[in-house]
């Protein structure tokens, strides 16, 4: 079965990013497909490559990036939500005249249409949030 996953909250502050990760991993382990993971609202903050969580705690960006690499996941960060919150890749950085970028290469920035498209293409949309 084909799943789409929407994540509405940022890492650590809420468990949403953790739960979505555990769900995605379990679904993939069972042979299901994840059509797309869409990071919206504060969920976009998951995509930072600058986080340094304590050594005895999980690193959520790294966990998602590893899962994405293993299973060729499409992880999309909403561009509008990202702009509000200071998440940028190199293109966004240049387009907005900023001097730095912070997005991990496992994630790509795109529009809200990607969420709708995921809702259409997937058999089930799972929403994790607050």
């Amino acid at each position: 079965m084909k799943f789409a996953i929407q994540i509405n909250e940022g890492p650590y502050q809420h468990q949403a990013v953790d739960s979505a990760y555990q769900f995605a991993k379990a679904a993939l382990d069972k042979g299901h497909e994840i059509f797309r993971v869409f990071f919206y609202h504060d969920g976009v903050n998951t995509a930072t490559r600058l986080a340094v969580p304590p050594q005895d705690d999980r690193n959520l960006t790294k966990l998602w990036a590893e899962l994405a690499e293993q299973h060729n996941l499409d992880m999309v960060v909403c561009v509008a939500a990202a702009q509000r919150r200071g998440m940028a890749d190199e293109d966004e950085m240049k387009r907005n005249g900023k001097d730095a970028n912070n997005i991990h290469p496992a994630f790509r920035i795109s529009g809200l249409g990607q969420l709708i498209e995921a809702g259409i293409a997937a058999d089930r949309l799972m929403v994790f949030g607050d």
């Binding site: 929407q6 509405n8 609202h41 809200l112 249409g113 969420l115 709708i116 809702g119």
Partner: protein
């Protein structure tokens, strides 16, 4: 992807205190381009999103309530409001924005976008969806 799915945006949170109302409205606007069967549900504190007379000047935030009035132009014409949620909050339909659309199948007659439904009816409508987007 030519299949038409039933999408319902489920709004349960008040505006301004959190960003969900604003950013879910942004999804609705983008989603309108996809020619799906779209509806919005307003229940619990979600009914506060479409209160009329919103004036955000004092809080320095953007008043996005006028955008709800534009939904009809995007062919988003089914806005279900839960009666019990209004009553629990001491509100009536008169407290809400008078949201309208022009029905192209009925000689462009102006009609109400807001459909007042009971909790039981709304639960039934949710059961009839393919995709529920929660914010």
């Amino acid at each position: 992807m030519s299949e038409i799915k039933k999408f319902m945006y489920v709004n349960r949170k008040a505006p301004y205190g959190t960003v969900y109302a604003l950013e879910s409205l942004e999804v609705v606007l983008i989603g309108a381009a996809f020619d799906q069967d779209v509806s919005l549900a307003f229940l619990d504190d979600g009914v506060f999103q479409i209160m009329k007379g919103q004036d955000t000047q004092g809080v320095g935030m953007k008043n996005f309530s006028p955008t709800y009035s534009a939904l009809g132009d995007y062919d988003v014409t089914k806005l279900y409001v839960e009666r019990e949620s209004l009553e629990e909050r001491g509100l009536t339909l008169d407290d809400l924005l008078p949201l309208k659309y022009e029905d192209e199948d009925d000689d462009w007659a102006e009609k109400d976008s807001i459909k007042l439904v009971s909790r039981e009816e709304l639960a039934g409508l949710m059961e009839d969806q393919d995709v529920l987007l929660n914010f």
